[in-house]
Protein backbone atom coordinates (compact mmCIF):
# COMPACT_ATOMS: atom_id res chain seq x y z
CA UNK A 1 0.00 0.00 0.00
CA UNK A 2 1.44 3.34 -0.99
CA UNK A 3 -0.56 5.45 1.44
CA UNK A 4 -2.22 5.22 4.79
CA UNK A 5 -5.65 6.57 5.69
CA UNK A 6 -6.08 8.32 9.02
CA UNK A 7 -9.65 8.49 10.27
CA UNK A 8 -11.32 10.03 13.27
CA UNK A 9 -15.07 9.69 13.73
CA UNK A 10 -17.65 11.93 15.37
CA UNK A 11 -20.68 9.85 16.16
CA UNK A 12 -23.91 11.59 17.15
CA UNK A 13 -26.20 9.23 19.02
CA UNK A 14 -29.69 10.31 20.01
CA UNK A 15 -30.29 9.39 23.62
CA UNK A 16 -33.37 7.29 24.31
CA UNK A 17 -34.86 9.56 26.95
CA UNK A 18 -38.61 10.05 27.33
CA UNK A 19 -38.38 13.83 26.96
CA UNK A 20 -36.07 16.24 25.16
CA UNK A 21 -32.78 17.55 26.51
CA UNK A 22 -34.01 20.88 27.85
CA UNK A 23 -37.82 20.66 27.87
CA UNK A 24 -40.61 18.21 28.57
CA UNK A 25 -41.61 17.57 24.94
CA UNK A 26 -41.73 13.90 24.01
CA UNK A 27 -38.59 12.50 22.40
CA UNK A 28 -40.30 10.49 19.68
CA UNK A 29 -39.46 9.53 16.13
CA UNK A 30 -41.90 9.98 13.30
CA UNK A 31 -44.78 12.00 14.77
CA UNK A 32 -46.92 14.46 12.84
CA UNK A 33 -44.76 17.53 12.07
CA UNK A 34 -44.52 20.19 14.77
CA UNK A 35 -46.58 18.31 17.33
CA UNK A 36 -43.83 17.83 19.95
CA UNK A 37 -42.91 21.45 20.42
CA UNK A 38 -43.06 23.96 23.24
CA UNK A 39 -41.71 27.45 23.95
CA UNK A 40 -38.31 26.01 24.92
CA UNK A 41 -37.52 23.72 21.98
CA UNK A 42 -39.08 26.22 19.61
CA UNK A 43 -36.76 28.89 21.00
CA UNK A 44 -39.64 31.26 21.68
CA UNK A 45 -38.58 34.59 23.21
CA UNK A 46 -38.42 34.35 26.99
CA UNK A 47 -38.13 30.57 27.19
CA UNK A 48 -35.33 28.93 29.18
CA UNK A 49 -33.73 25.48 29.10
CA UNK A 50 -33.64 23.06 32.05
CA UNK A 51 -31.39 20.00 31.75
CA UNK A 52 -32.87 16.48 31.66
CA UNK A 53 -31.30 14.42 34.46
CA UNK A 54 -31.64 11.20 32.44
CA UNK A 55 -29.42 12.60 29.70
CA UNK A 56 -26.72 13.24 32.28
CA UNK A 57 -27.14 9.73 33.65
CA UNK A 58 -26.83 8.27 30.16
CA UNK A 59 -23.67 10.27 29.48
CA UNK A 60 -22.23 8.88 32.70
CA UNK A 61 -23.16 5.35 31.62
CA UNK A 62 -21.31 5.91 28.37
CA UNK A 63 -18.36 7.12 30.43
CA UNK A 64 -18.33 3.79 32.26
CA UNK A 65 -18.59 1.81 29.04
CA UNK A 66 -15.89 3.74 27.16
CA UNK A 67 -13.48 4.21 30.08
CA UNK A 68 -13.98 7.97 29.88
CA UNK A 69 -13.00 10.33 32.65
CA UNK A 70 -15.68 12.55 34.14
CA UNK A 71 -14.21 15.95 35.03
CA UNK A 72 -15.32 17.61 38.24
CA UNK A 73 -17.53 19.99 36.33
CA UNK A 74 -18.73 20.48 32.82
CA UNK A 75 -20.27 23.51 31.20
CA UNK A 76 -22.72 24.00 28.35
CA UNK A 77 -21.81 26.47 25.65
CA UNK A 78 -23.63 28.15 22.82
CA UNK A 79 -22.48 27.35 19.31
CA UNK A 80 -23.69 30.28 17.25
CA UNK A 81 -24.64 29.97 13.59
CA UNK A 82 -27.72 30.70 11.58
CA UNK A 83 -29.67 27.81 10.15
CA UNK A 84 -33.45 27.55 9.81
CA UNK A 85 -33.72 24.12 11.41
CA UNK A 86 -32.17 25.52 14.59
CA UNK A 87 -34.85 27.47 16.49
CA UNK A 88 -32.57 29.74 18.51
CA UNK A 89 -29.95 30.11 15.79
CA UNK A 90 -27.49 28.71 18.28
CA UNK A 91 -27.02 25.14 19.43
CA UNK A 92 -26.62 24.40 23.11
CA UNK A 93 -23.62 22.11 23.13
CA UNK A 94 -20.45 21.66 25.15
CA UNK A 95 -17.15 23.16 24.13
CA UNK A 96 -14.07 23.40 26.31
CA UNK A 97 -15.58 21.63 29.33
CA UNK A 98 -17.38 18.48 28.11
CA UNK A 99 -19.00 16.02 30.50
CA UNK A 100 -16.57 13.20 29.63
CA UNK A 101 -13.03 13.01 28.22
CA UNK A 102 -10.16 10.61 27.44
CA UNK A 103 -11.51 7.12 26.97
CA UNK A 104 -11.16 4.21 24.57
CA UNK A 105 -12.92 1.39 22.83
CA UNK A 106 -11.31 -1.89 21.76
CA UNK A 107 -12.08 -2.90 18.20
CA UNK A 108 -10.87 -6.37 17.22
CA UNK A 109 -7.89 -6.05 19.51
CA UNK A 110 -6.94 -2.52 18.39
CA UNK A 111 -7.53 0.31 20.81
CA UNK A 112 -9.31 3.41 19.45
CA UNK A 113 -8.99 6.46 21.66
CA UNK A 114 -12.08 8.50 22.46
CA UNK A 115 -11.30 12.16 22.89
CA UNK A 116 -14.60 13.16 24.43
CA UNK A 117 -18.30 12.49 24.54
CA UNK A 118 -20.46 15.54 25.13
CA UNK A 119 -24.13 16.42 25.37
CA UNK A 120 -25.85 18.68 22.87
CA UNK A 121 -29.27 19.29 21.36
CA UNK A 122 -30.42 18.05 17.97
CA UNK A 123 -31.87 20.31 15.26
CA UNK A 124 -35.20 20.14 13.47
CA UNK A 125 -35.66 18.59 10.04
CA UNK A 126 -36.06 20.30 6.68
CA UNK A 127 -38.11 19.02 3.81
CA UNK A 128 -36.91 20.41 0.49
CA UNK A 129 -39.72 21.15 -1.95
CA UNK A 130 -39.24 21.06 -5.71
CA UNK A 131 -36.04 20.18 -7.54
CA UNK A 132 -36.34 16.51 -6.67
CA UNK A 133 -36.16 17.17 -2.94
CA UNK A 134 -32.46 18.02 -3.04
CA UNK A 135 -31.42 20.99 -0.98
CA UNK A 136 -29.52 22.76 -3.76
CA UNK A 137 -32.25 22.53 -6.36
CA UNK A 138 -35.24 23.08 -4.11
CA UNK A 139 -37.55 26.05 -4.54
CA UNK A 140 -38.28 26.33 -0.85
CA UNK A 141 -38.10 24.28 2.31
CA UNK A 142 -40.45 23.26 5.11
CA UNK A 143 -39.30 22.87 8.68
CA UNK A 144 -40.48 20.45 11.36
CA UNK A 145 -39.11 21.10 14.85
CA UNK A 146 -40.17 17.81 16.47
CA UNK A 147 -36.54 16.70 16.55
CA UNK A 148 -35.24 20.07 17.75
CA UNK A 149 -33.92 19.68 21.27
CA UNK A 150 -33.67 15.89 21.25
CA UNK A 151 -30.62 14.92 23.31
CA UNK A 152 -27.52 13.89 21.42
CA UNK A 153 -24.29 12.49 22.71
CA UNK A 154 -21.45 13.42 20.36
CA UNK A 155 -18.70 10.84 20.70
CA UNK A 156 -15.44 12.02 19.17
CA UNK A 157 -12.70 9.50 18.48
CA UNK A 158 -8.99 10.10 18.19
CA UNK A 159 -7.60 9.77 14.65
CA UNK A 160 -6.70 6.17 15.48
CA UNK A 161 -8.66 4.42 12.74
CA UNK A 162 -6.73 3.27 9.68
CA UNK A 163 -9.20 1.80 7.19
CA UNK A 164 -12.82 2.11 6.07
CA UNK A 165 -13.40 -1.41 7.32
CA UNK A 166 -12.02 -0.57 10.74
CA UNK A 167 -14.19 2.55 10.82
CA UNK A 168 -17.18 0.34 10.21
CA UNK A 169 -16.10 -2.08 12.91
CA UNK A 170 -15.59 0.80 15.34
CA UNK A 171 -19.12 2.01 14.70
CA UNK A 172 -20.49 -1.52 15.10
CA UNK A 173 -18.73 -1.91 18.44
CA UNK A 174 -19.92 1.52 19.54
CA UNK A 175 -23.49 0.75 18.52
CA UNK A 176 -23.40 -2.56 20.34
CA UNK A 177 -22.17 -0.87 23.49
CA UNK A 178 -24.71 1.98 23.35
CA UNK A 179 -27.50 -0.50 22.77
CA UNK A 180 -26.34 -2.82 25.54
CA UNK A 181 -26.21 -0.04 28.11
CA UNK A 182 -29.65 1.14 27.05
CA UNK A 183 -28.82 4.75 26.24
CA UNK A 184 -29.75 4.83 22.56
CA UNK A 185 -31.61 2.71 20.07
CA UNK A 186 -28.89 3.58 17.51
CA UNK A 187 -31.09 3.16 14.47
CA UNK A 188 -29.08 4.68 11.66
CA UNK A 189 -31.99 4.37 9.26
CA UNK A 190 -34.12 6.55 11.53
CA UNK A 191 -31.28 8.99 11.99
CA UNK A 192 -30.85 8.25 15.67
CA UNK A 193 -27.16 7.72 14.93
CA UNK A 194 -25.25 9.96 12.50
CA UNK A 195 -21.58 10.06 11.72
CA UNK A 196 -19.10 12.68 10.60
CA UNK A 197 -15.75 11.31 9.42
CA UNK A 198 -12.48 13.23 9.53
CA UNK A 199 -10.29 11.74 6.85
CA UNK A 200 -6.70 12.43 5.84
CA UNK A 201 -4.04 10.50 3.97
CA UNK A 202 -0.28 10.24 4.31
CA UNK A 203 2.50 8.20 2.72
CA UNK A 204 2.72 4.75 4.26
CA UNK A 205 5.13 4.83 7.17
CA UNK A 206 4.84 8.59 7.71
CA UNK A 207 4.07 9.82 11.22
CA UNK A 208 2.85 13.24 10.16
CA UNK A 209 -0.86 13.90 9.81
CA UNK A 210 -2.11 15.10 6.43
CA UNK A 211 -4.69 17.85 5.96
CA UNK A 212 -8.06 16.47 6.88
CA UNK A 213 -11.51 16.90 5.45
CA UNK A 214 -14.66 16.41 7.44
CA UNK A 215 -17.35 14.39 5.71
CA UNK A 216 -20.70 15.24 7.23
CA UNK A 217 -23.81 13.27 8.04
CA UNK A 218 -23.10 9.73 6.98
CA UNK A 219 -26.15 7.78 7.94
CA UNK A 220 -25.40 4.19 7.05
CA UNK A 221 -22.41 1.93 7.49
CA UNK A 222 -22.32 1.47 3.74
CA UNK A 223 -22.10 5.23 3.17
CA UNK A 224 -19.41 5.46 5.81
CA UNK A 225 -17.22 2.88 4.08
CA UNK A 226 -17.83 4.21 0.58
CA UNK A 227 -17.34 7.83 1.57
CA UNK A 228 -14.04 7.14 3.29
CA UNK A 229 -12.83 5.04 0.36
CA UNK A 230 -13.75 7.75 -2.11
CA UNK A 231 -12.36 10.56 -0.03
CA UNK A 232 -9.03 8.82 0.58
CA UNK A 233 -8.62 8.16 -3.15
CA UNK A 234 -9.50 11.74 -3.94
CA UNK A 235 -7.01 13.12 -1.45
CA UNK A 236 -4.23 10.77 -2.51
CA UNK A 237 -4.77 11.72 -6.14
CA UNK A 238 -4.30 15.36 -5.14
CA UNK A 239 -1.15 14.56 -3.19
CA UNK A 240 0.30 12.58 -6.07
CA UNK A 241 -0.50 15.38 -8.48
CA UNK A 242 1.45 17.70 -6.21
CA UNK A 243 -1.65 19.63 -5.20
CA UNK A 244 -2.77 20.61 -1.75
CA UNK A 245 -5.68 19.07 0.10
CA UNK A 246 -7.86 21.92 1.33
CA UNK A 247 -9.16 21.57 4.86
CA UNK A 248 -12.92 21.77 4.49
CA UNK A 249 -16.28 20.24 5.20
CA UNK A 250 -17.55 17.89 2.53
CA UNK A 251 -20.85 16.12 2.05
CA UNK A 252 -21.43 12.57 0.87
CA UNK A 253 -23.49 12.36 -2.29
CA UNK A 254 -24.98 8.89 -2.06
CA UNK A 255 -26.28 8.75 -5.62
CA UNK A 256 -23.15 10.17 -7.19
CA UNK A 257 -20.93 8.04 -4.98
CA UNK A 258 -18.66 10.98 -4.20
CA UNK A 259 -17.97 13.64 -1.62
CA UNK A 260 -18.65 17.24 -2.58
CA UNK A 261 -17.30 20.41 -1.09
CA UNK A 262 -19.66 21.92 1.46
CA UNK A 263 -18.25 25.39 1.04
CA UNK A 264 -21.04 27.84 0.72
CA UNK A 265 -20.69 31.44 -0.31
CA UNK A 266 -21.13 32.25 3.35
CA UNK A 267 -18.42 33.58 5.59
CA UNK A 268 -15.91 31.18 7.10
CA UNK A 269 -17.49 29.55 10.11
CA UNK A 270 -16.94 31.29 13.36
CA UNK A 271 -19.16 29.72 15.99
CA UNK A 272 -18.45 32.30 18.70
CA UNK A 273 -18.74 29.73 21.48
CA UNK A 274 -19.35 31.16 24.94
CA UNK A 275 -20.68 29.64 28.18
CA UNK A 276 -24.47 29.19 28.07
CA UNK A 277 -25.71 31.70 30.66
CA UNK A 278 -29.14 30.09 30.96
CA UNK A 279 -27.70 26.85 32.39
CA UNK A 280 -25.52 26.14 35.39
CA UNK A 281 -22.55 23.75 35.37
CA UNK A 282 -22.97 20.00 35.78
CA UNK A 283 -20.82 18.58 38.56
CA UNK A 284 -21.49 14.83 38.73
CA UNK A 285 -21.54 13.78 42.36
CA UNK A 286 -20.18 10.56 43.84
CA UNK A 287 -23.78 9.47 44.40
CA UNK A 288 -24.68 10.00 40.75
CA UNK A 289 -21.65 8.00 39.64
CA UNK A 290 -22.26 5.23 42.17
CA UNK A 291 -25.87 4.92 41.02
CA UNK A 292 -24.73 4.60 37.43
CA UNK A 293 -22.15 1.97 38.30
CA UNK A 294 -24.67 -0.02 40.33
CA UNK A 295 -27.18 -0.07 37.48
CA UNK A 296 -24.72 -0.56 34.61
CA UNK A 297 -25.75 -3.42 32.35
CA UNK A 298 -23.06 -5.85 31.16
CA UNK A 299 -21.05 -4.60 28.18
CA UNK A 300 -20.86 -6.62 24.96
CA UNK A 301 -17.14 -7.22 25.41
CA UNK A 302 -17.73 -8.44 28.96
CA UNK A 303 -20.55 -10.71 27.88
CA UNK A 304 -18.49 -12.23 25.06
CA UNK A 305 -15.69 -13.01 27.46
CA UNK A 306 -18.14 -14.62 29.87
CA UNK A 307 -19.65 -16.91 27.20
CA UNK A 308 -16.24 -18.01 25.96
CA UNK A 309 -15.06 -18.68 29.49
CA UNK A 310 -18.16 -20.33 30.96
CA UNK A 311 -19.42 -22.28 27.97
CA UNK A 312 -16.17 -23.08 26.20
CA UNK A 313 -17.45 -21.71 22.91
CA UNK A 314 -15.55 -19.88 20.18
CA UNK A 315 -15.13 -16.10 20.21
CA UNK A 316 -16.95 -15.79 16.88
CA UNK A 317 -19.95 -17.70 18.21
CA UNK A 318 -20.00 -15.51 21.28
CA UNK A 319 -19.96 -12.45 19.02
CA UNK A 320 -23.07 -13.62 17.18
CA UNK A 321 -24.91 -14.21 20.46
CA UNK A 322 -23.98 -10.70 21.63
CA UNK A 323 -24.54 -8.86 18.37
CA UNK A 324 -27.97 -10.23 17.53
CA UNK A 325 -30.29 -8.45 19.94
CA UNK A 326 -31.83 -10.87 22.41
CA UNK A 327 -30.01 -13.94 21.14
CA UNK A 328 -27.58 -14.11 24.07
CA UNK A 329 -30.41 -13.86 26.57
CA UNK A 330 -32.25 -16.63 24.68
CA UNK A 331 -29.23 -18.91 24.82
CA UNK A 332 -28.63 -18.12 28.48
CA UNK A 333 -32.17 -19.09 29.44
CA UNK A 334 -31.94 -22.26 27.40
CA UNK A 335 -28.65 -23.23 29.03
CA UNK A 336 -30.15 -22.63 32.45
CA UNK A 337 -33.08 -24.88 31.52
CA UNK A 338 -30.92 -27.83 30.47
CA UNK A 339 -32.03 -30.82 32.46
CA UNK A 340 -29.05 -33.10 32.59
CA UNK A 341 -28.81 -33.88 28.89
CA UNK A 342 -26.66 -31.78 26.57
CA UNK A 343 -24.24 -28.94 27.12
CA UNK A 344 -24.17 -25.17 26.77
CA UNK A 345 -22.08 -25.69 23.68
CA UNK A 346 -24.91 -27.78 22.15
CA UNK A 347 -27.36 -25.00 22.93
CA UNK A 348 -25.09 -22.45 21.27
CA UNK A 349 -24.63 -24.63 18.19
CA UNK A 350 -28.35 -25.06 17.68
CA UNK A 351 -28.92 -21.38 18.44
CA UNK A 352 -26.45 -19.96 15.99
CA UNK A 353 -27.48 -22.41 13.23
CA UNK A 354 -31.13 -23.37 13.25
CA UNK A 355 -32.57 -20.72 15.57
CA UNK A 356 -30.77 -17.86 13.84
CA UNK A 357 -31.77 -19.16 10.40
CA UNK A 358 -35.37 -19.29 11.54
CA UNK A 359 -35.19 -15.73 12.92
CA UNK A 360 -33.62 -14.40 9.74
CA UNK A 361 -36.31 -16.02 7.67
CA UNK A 362 -39.25 -15.00 9.87
CA UNK A 363 -37.95 -11.56 10.83
CA UNK A 364 -38.96 -12.30 14.40
CA UNK A 365 -37.00 -11.60 17.56
CA UNK A 366 -35.56 -14.09 20.06
CA UNK A 367 -37.75 -12.56 22.75
CA UNK A 368 -40.78 -14.10 21.06
CA UNK A 369 -39.34 -17.63 21.39
CA UNK A 370 -39.37 -20.04 24.33
CA UNK A 371 -35.76 -20.95 25.13
CA UNK A 372 -36.88 -23.83 27.36
CA UNK A 373 -38.11 -25.57 24.21
CA UNK A 374 -34.60 -25.53 22.78
CA UNK A 375 -33.27 -26.92 26.06
CA UNK A 376 -35.73 -29.79 25.84
CA UNK A 377 -34.72 -30.52 22.28
CA UNK A 378 -31.04 -30.55 23.17
CA UNK A 379 -31.89 -33.00 25.95
CA UNK A 380 -33.82 -35.34 23.61
CA UNK A 381 -30.97 -35.38 21.12
CA UNK A 382 -28.30 -35.90 23.76
CA UNK A 383 -30.27 -38.83 25.18
CA UNK A 384 -30.36 -40.34 21.70
CA UNK A 385 -34.14 -40.16 21.57
CA UNK A 386 -34.02 -38.58 18.15
CA UNK A 387 -31.50 -38.45 15.37
CA UNK A 388 -29.74 -35.28 14.23
CA UNK A 389 -31.93 -34.94 11.18
CA UNK A 390 -35.03 -35.57 13.24
CA UNK A 391 -33.87 -33.05 15.76
CA UNK A 392 -33.57 -30.45 13.00
CA UNK A 393 -37.09 -31.09 11.85
CA UNK A 394 -38.47 -31.11 15.37
CA UNK A 395 -36.72 -27.84 16.23
CA UNK A 396 -38.01 -26.25 13.07
CA UNK A 397 -41.55 -27.18 13.93
CA UNK A 398 -41.08 -26.20 17.56
CA UNK A 399 -39.94 -22.72 16.51
CA UNK A 400 -42.67 -22.25 13.97
CA UNK A 401 -45.54 -23.57 16.01
CA UNK A 402 -44.26 -22.75 19.48
CA UNK A 403 -44.68 -26.40 20.41
CA UNK A 404 -42.71 -28.45 22.91
CA UNK A 405 -40.26 -30.88 21.20
CA UNK A 406 -41.37 -33.78 23.40
CA UNK A 407 -44.94 -33.35 22.14
CA UNK A 408 -43.82 -33.25 18.52
CA UNK A 409 -41.74 -36.36 18.95
CA UNK A 410 -44.68 -38.18 20.49
CA UNK A 411 -47.23 -36.95 17.95
CA UNK A 412 -45.07 -38.06 15.06
CA UNK A 413 -43.93 -41.20 16.81
CA UNK A 414 -40.36 -40.22 16.07
CA UNK A 415 -38.71 -41.52 19.15
CA UNK A 416 -35.63 -43.60 18.21
CA UNK A 417 -35.03 -47.09 19.45
CA UNK A 418 -31.78 -46.83 21.37
CA UNK A 419 -32.38 -49.63 23.80
CA UNK A 420 -29.40 -51.97 23.32
CA UNK A 421 -31.30 -55.09 24.25
CA UNK A 422 -34.00 -54.39 21.68
CA UNK A 423 -31.44 -53.60 19.01
CA UNK A 424 -29.31 -56.70 19.85
CA UNK A 425 -32.38 -58.90 19.63
CA UNK A 426 -33.28 -57.41 16.26
CA UNK A 427 -29.77 -58.20 15.01
CA UNK A 428 -30.10 -61.79 16.23
CA UNK A 429 -33.45 -62.06 14.44
CA UNK A 430 -31.89 -61.01 11.13
CA UNK A 431 -28.95 -63.40 11.56
CA UNK A 432 -31.31 -66.25 12.41
CA UNK A 433 -33.28 -65.62 9.26
CA UNK A 434 -30.08 -65.73 7.20
CA UNK A 435 -28.14 -68.84 8.15
CA UNK A 436 -24.61 -68.92 6.78
CA UNK A 437 -24.31 -65.16 6.90
CA UNK A 438 -21.62 -65.18 9.58
CA UNK A 439 -19.40 -67.55 7.59
CA UNK A 440 -19.83 -65.64 4.37
CA UNK A 441 -19.09 -62.39 6.20
CA UNK A 442 -15.87 -63.65 7.72
CA UNK A 443 -14.66 -64.88 4.35
CA UNK A 444 -15.40 -61.62 2.59
CA UNK A 445 -12.93 -58.86 1.78
CA UNK A 446 -13.30 -55.42 3.42
CA UNK A 447 -15.43 -54.01 0.68
CA UNK A 448 -17.87 -56.87 0.75
CA UNK A 449 -17.90 -56.77 4.59
CA UNK A 450 -19.18 -53.19 4.44
CA UNK A 451 -21.90 -54.21 2.06
CA UNK A 452 -22.98 -57.13 4.25
CA UNK A 453 -23.07 -54.87 7.35
CA UNK A 454 -25.31 -52.49 5.40
CA UNK A 455 -27.66 -55.37 4.62
CA UNK A 456 -28.13 -56.24 8.28
CA UNK A 457 -28.59 -52.62 9.29
CA UNK A 458 -31.23 -52.13 6.62
CA UNK A 459 -33.09 -55.24 7.78
CA UNK A 460 -33.03 -54.05 11.40
CA UNK A 461 -34.15 -50.57 10.46
CA UNK A 462 -37.08 -51.94 8.50
CA UNK A 463 -37.98 -54.27 11.32
CA UNK A 464 -38.12 -51.31 13.72
CA UNK A 465 -40.09 -49.01 11.39
CA UNK A 466 -37.03 -46.85 10.71
CA UNK A 467 -36.67 -45.80 14.33
CA UNK A 468 -33.48 -47.60 15.15
CA UNK A 469 -30.75 -45.40 16.59
CA UNK A 470 -28.23 -45.99 13.82
CA UNK A 471 -25.28 -44.96 15.92
CA UNK A 472 -25.97 -47.52 18.59
CA UNK A 473 -26.90 -50.12 15.99
CA UNK A 474 -23.60 -49.67 14.13
CA UNK A 475 -21.64 -50.19 17.31
CA UNK A 476 -23.59 -53.28 18.38
CA UNK A 477 -23.39 -54.91 14.99
CA UNK A 478 -19.62 -54.37 14.77
CA UNK A 479 -19.25 -56.04 18.17
CA UNK A 480 -21.47 -58.97 17.17
CA UNK A 481 -19.64 -59.64 13.93
CA UNK A 482 -16.14 -59.76 15.39
CA UNK A 483 -17.08 -61.92 18.33
Amino acid sequence: MKYEIVIGLEVHAELATASKLFCGCANEFGGEPNTNICPVCLGLPGSLPVLNEKAVEYALRVAEAMHLRVPERSVFARKNYFYPDMPKDYQISQYDMPITIDGWLDVDGARVGITRAHLEEDTGKSLHMGGGGRIHDAEYSLIDYNRAGVPLLEIVSEPDIRSPEQAKRYVEELRGALLAIGVSDVKMEEGSMRIDANVSVRPAGSEELGTRCEIKNLNSLRSLVRAIEYEAERQWALVEAGERVVQETRHWDEEGGRTVSGRSKEEAHDYRYFPEPDLVPVAPTDEMRAHVRATMPELPSERRARYVQDWGIREEDARILVDVPGLGAYAETAVAALDGGGTAKDVVNWTRQEVLAYLNESGGSPAELTPEMLAELVGLFAAGKISRSQAKDVLDESLREQKWPRDIVEEQNLSQVSDEEVLAQAIEDVLAANPGFIDEYRAADDKLKKKKQGFVMGQVRDALDGKANMQVLTRLLAQRLVS
Binding site: T17, S19, C25, Y140, S141, I143, E266, E267, R272
Partner: protein
Protein backbone atom coordinates in the same frame (compact mmCIF):
# COMPACT_ATOMS: atom_id res chain seq x y z
CA UNK B 1 -4.39 45.27 21.93
CA UNK B 2 -6.32 44.72 18.75
CA UNK B 3 -6.05 47.19 15.89
CA UNK B 4 -8.88 49.64 15.33
CA UNK B 5 -11.93 48.06 13.74
CA UNK B 6 -12.07 48.50 9.97
CA UNK B 7 -14.86 48.75 7.49
CA UNK B 8 -14.03 45.22 6.34
CA UNK B 9 -14.31 43.98 9.93
CA UNK B 10 -17.73 45.58 10.18
CA UNK B 11 -18.85 43.96 6.96
CA UNK B 12 -17.55 40.59 8.13
CA UNK B 13 -19.28 40.91 11.49
CA UNK B 14 -22.51 41.95 9.78
CA UNK B 15 -22.40 38.71 7.76
CA UNK B 16 -21.84 36.69 10.94
CA UNK B 17 -24.74 38.50 12.58
CA UNK B 18 -27.00 38.21 9.50
CA UNK B 19 -27.62 41.92 9.17
CA UNK B 20 -28.07 43.37 5.68
CA UNK B 21 -26.57 46.74 6.60
CA UNK B 22 -26.77 49.68 4.24
CA UNK B 23 -23.63 51.54 3.19
CA UNK B 24 -24.52 54.33 5.58
CA UNK B 25 -24.98 51.88 8.45
CA UNK B 26 -21.61 50.29 7.78
CA UNK B 27 -20.00 53.71 7.71
CA UNK B 28 -21.63 54.83 10.96
CA UNK B 29 -20.95 51.56 12.76
CA UNK B 30 -17.29 51.60 11.81
CA UNK B 31 -16.92 54.87 13.71
CA UNK B 32 -19.24 54.04 16.60
CA UNK B 33 -17.82 50.59 17.27
CA UNK B 34 -14.34 52.08 17.03
CA UNK B 35 -15.15 54.62 19.74
CA UNK B 36 -16.78 52.04 21.99
CA UNK B 37 -13.90 49.60 21.57
CA UNK B 38 -11.40 52.37 22.30
CA UNK B 39 -13.17 52.82 25.59
CA UNK B 40 -13.03 49.07 26.14
CA UNK B 41 -9.29 49.12 25.52
CA UNK B 42 -8.74 49.88 29.20
CA UNK B 43 -10.28 46.50 29.98
CA UNK B 44 -8.25 44.66 27.38
CA UNK B 45 -5.10 46.22 28.73
CA UNK B 46 -5.63 45.08 32.33
CA UNK B 47 -3.29 42.40 33.68
CA UNK B 48 -5.60 39.58 34.68
CA UNK B 49 -3.61 36.43 33.93
CA UNK B 50 -4.22 35.05 37.43
CA UNK B 51 -7.87 36.10 37.59
CA UNK B 52 -10.45 33.44 36.70
CA UNK B 53 -13.38 34.54 34.53
CA UNK B 54 -16.85 34.93 36.03
CA UNK B 55 -19.38 33.71 33.49
CA UNK B 56 -22.24 33.77 35.92
CA UNK B 57 -23.08 35.43 39.21
CA UNK B 58 -24.72 32.34 40.65
CA UNK B 59 -22.86 29.53 42.44
CA UNK B 60 -25.41 26.81 41.55
CA UNK B 61 -24.59 23.44 39.94
CA UNK B 62 -26.64 20.41 38.85
CA UNK B 63 -30.01 22.01 38.24
CA UNK B 64 -31.81 19.06 36.65
CA UNK B 65 -35.36 18.11 35.84
CA UNK B 66 -36.92 14.64 35.85
CA UNK B 67 -37.21 12.93 32.47
CA UNK B 68 -40.96 13.22 32.09
CA UNK B 69 -42.73 13.94 28.83
CA UNK B 70 -45.48 16.57 28.76
CA UNK B 71 -47.86 17.77 26.11
CA UNK B 72 -46.48 20.69 24.15
CA UNK B 73 -48.16 23.59 22.39
CA UNK B 74 -51.08 23.27 19.97
CA UNK B 75 -49.56 23.35 16.50
CA UNK B 76 -52.16 25.69 15.05
CA UNK B 77 -51.52 28.30 17.70
CA UNK B 78 -47.80 28.20 16.97
CA UNK B 79 -48.08 28.21 13.19
CA UNK B 80 -50.55 31.11 13.36
CA UNK B 81 -47.60 33.29 14.39
CA UNK B 82 -45.35 32.06 11.58
CA UNK B 83 -44.67 34.42 8.66
CA UNK B 84 -45.34 31.49 6.34
CA UNK B 85 -46.48 27.92 6.95
CA UNK B 86 -47.48 24.95 4.80
CA UNK B 87 -48.64 21.42 5.65
CA UNK B 88 -48.07 21.83 9.36
CA UNK B 89 -44.55 23.09 8.81
CA UNK B 90 -42.74 26.41 8.78
CA UNK B 91 -42.01 27.54 5.25
CA UNK B 92 -38.73 29.25 4.35
CA UNK B 93 -37.12 30.36 1.10
CA UNK B 94 -34.60 27.97 -0.39
CA UNK B 95 -31.62 27.05 1.75
CA UNK B 96 -28.37 27.51 -0.16
CA UNK B 97 -26.07 25.21 1.76
CA UNK B 98 -26.00 22.32 4.18
CA UNK B 99 -25.70 23.19 7.85
CA UNK B 100 -22.09 24.11 8.66
Amino acid sequence: MAARITRQDVEHVARLARLALTEAEVEALTHELGAILDHAAEVSALRTADVPPTAHPLPLVNVLRPDEARTGLPRDEVLAEAPEAEDGRFRVPRILGEAP
